[in-house]
Amino acid sequence: MTKDIYVLIEHVQGKVADISYIMLAAARELAEGTGGEVVGILLGHEAQGLAETLAADKVLYGDHPALAEFTPDAYQKVLEKLIPEKEPRAVLFGSTTIGADVVGTLSSQLDIPLVDSCVSVSADSNVISQICGGKIMVESALEGTTSFIAMIPGHYKVESGQSDAGPEVTPIELPALDDLRVTLRQYIEPEIGDVDITQEDVLIGVGRGIQTEDNIEWIEELADLLGAEICASRPIVDQGWLPTSRMVGKSGQSVKPKLYLSLGISGAPEHVEGMAGSEMVIAVNMDPDAPIFDVAKYGVEFDLFDLIDPLMDKIEETS
């Protein structure tokens, strides 16, 4: 086994995904401990240029039309050959729509241990991950064999994994990529919503805690008073109470408002991923252990239904 830390670079429609840079930053920290190099694995088609911004010591590049965009079958075929050949100390994947499609399969196939939902790593090869929606932290140790780490955002900054230096890019030999069982037919672009929540200064995020669809109207009154727009965590959108264009989180939008007022949102990692960049987060939740209080600057442990009317009164009174 080598001392190198590998990172599966994720990209969609010609753009490197932020999680790739986050993983490179984490890989650097691990590599400092092992004394190895940070190596990016970039799979694509005529996509070598994507390597330019990666803060890696080198990039292994696999080029093939079937790799132009991510599909699990093609990626898996390449990685199941590459990883045993290279024997890295660890391979970092995103715990994302891309990484999570292949890391489990590869773990099972190559008999490589896997730790999921990892937030941070340390030079002494400890890995911190979360379970139970961020309510429990888990510290694991890398074993003496190659290990897989599936990462979520939260600890490392995107900029820490970026560089202008341009790593050395080495082409890799690919296995046959025919007979694929999964192919991408097409992408469907998101419908443009009535508002672009990524551009708003003030957002009120609502979650399961608002309980009924009718209560959204009530929150809208508050939003009007504050000049805010409403957005939501996944369960609200799955219920059809707000359109997908208002969803914040992993599969939704990433927002960076001046103020994110979070109402009845527990703060599961999938949601936090989309709003952690807010300048200020104020969270109202009945559950004192809600992980949203780890993200918020200010927290209110209170029944939100008892708070909305007094808050609206106070805003009207003041403005």
């Binding site: 969609v12 999570a100 999964v182 003030v202 252990d289 209080f293 708070l307």
Partner: protein
């Protein structure tokens, strides 16, 4: 006839207070309340929707846990045809590598065209179930799916990407799909209908002899997030809190 198998498990209810076991390396299962993994609930709904659209048979497979019979009967009330409970040493919640191999063995006997399961669960420390099962059965896997259409020899699975982008994936069957959300919200069934199922439906029990505890990394410790990272809490009655919030809004210039 399309045979659909859904793999569903119960997970800790996060509304309850969670505690760490005395050895500091696991969740304390003693007082833990369990409920169905919400993504598995969506997988069940998606399976029933497919059955309603094109016909077929839906089988639900779940590992034994407190409350699993009720959960299985509820799926029957929603439209599931066959209920299977894995019986074995599931008390301490085995890791997903072990659970996946148990799931795979029983699922294989059903000769499914399509296996659906939740894309993730809140206790997936060693990865999600779907990809692990897919490997055991040598089937393709695609996750983060929020829509499935059956076609000749395959399915079109709508895969979610950040920012609301959808990838339409053509997947050859048999396959495993990790469901993020069903096309319709999971349906509600009346308790009376579930009670009826308790009388009329049967749960098949399958013994699972041994669960290997490999596949994850060794856990040094589990702990609750440290208090230092927490928000500054605003105390008081509703008027005091409202006043403080307005003060903050003014401070950051949004009012």
């Amino acid at each position: 006839m399309t045979k659909i198998v859904v793999l569903a498990k119960l997970v800790p209810d996060l509304v309850e207070e969670l505690e760490i076991a005395p050895d500091g390396k696991a969740l304390d299962m003693m007082w833990l309340r369990l409920l169905i993994n919400e993504f598995d609930n969506h997988a069940i709904e998606q399976a029933v929707l497919l059955k309603e659209a094109v016909g077929g048979e839906v089988t639900i497979i779940s590992p034994d846990a407190e409350g699993v019979d009720d959960m299985l009967f509820t799926t029957a009330a929603k439209g599931a045809d066959k209920l299977i409970k894995l019986v074995g040493d599931f008390e301490d919640m085995p890791n997903n590598h072990a659970l996946a191999s148990a799931f795979a063995k029983v699922a294989k006997e059903e000769q499914p065209d399509l296996i659906l399961t939740g894309v993730q669960a809140n206790n997936d420390l060693d990865g999600a179930i779907g990809p692990l099962v897919a490997k055991e059965l040598d089937m393709p896997y695609v996750g983060y799916i929020s829509g499935v259409t059956l076609e000749e020899g395959g399915v079109i699975a709508r895969k979610e990407y950040p920012g609301g982008l959808i990838g339409e994936m053509e997947v050859k069957l048999p396959a495993v799909l990790g469901i993020q959300a069903s096309e319709e919200p999971p349906r509600y069934v009346a308790i009376s209908k579930v009670r009826q199922m308790m009388k009329s439906a049967a749960i098949d029990e399958h013994d699972v002899p041994e669960l290997a505890d490999t596949g994850g990394l060794p856990v040094n410790r589990m702990y609750l997030p440290e208090a230092a990272e927490r928000a500054e809490m605003i105390e008081g009655d509703e008027d005091e809190i409202a006043a403080k919030l307005v003060e903050l809004f003014q401070e950051i210039g949004v009012m």
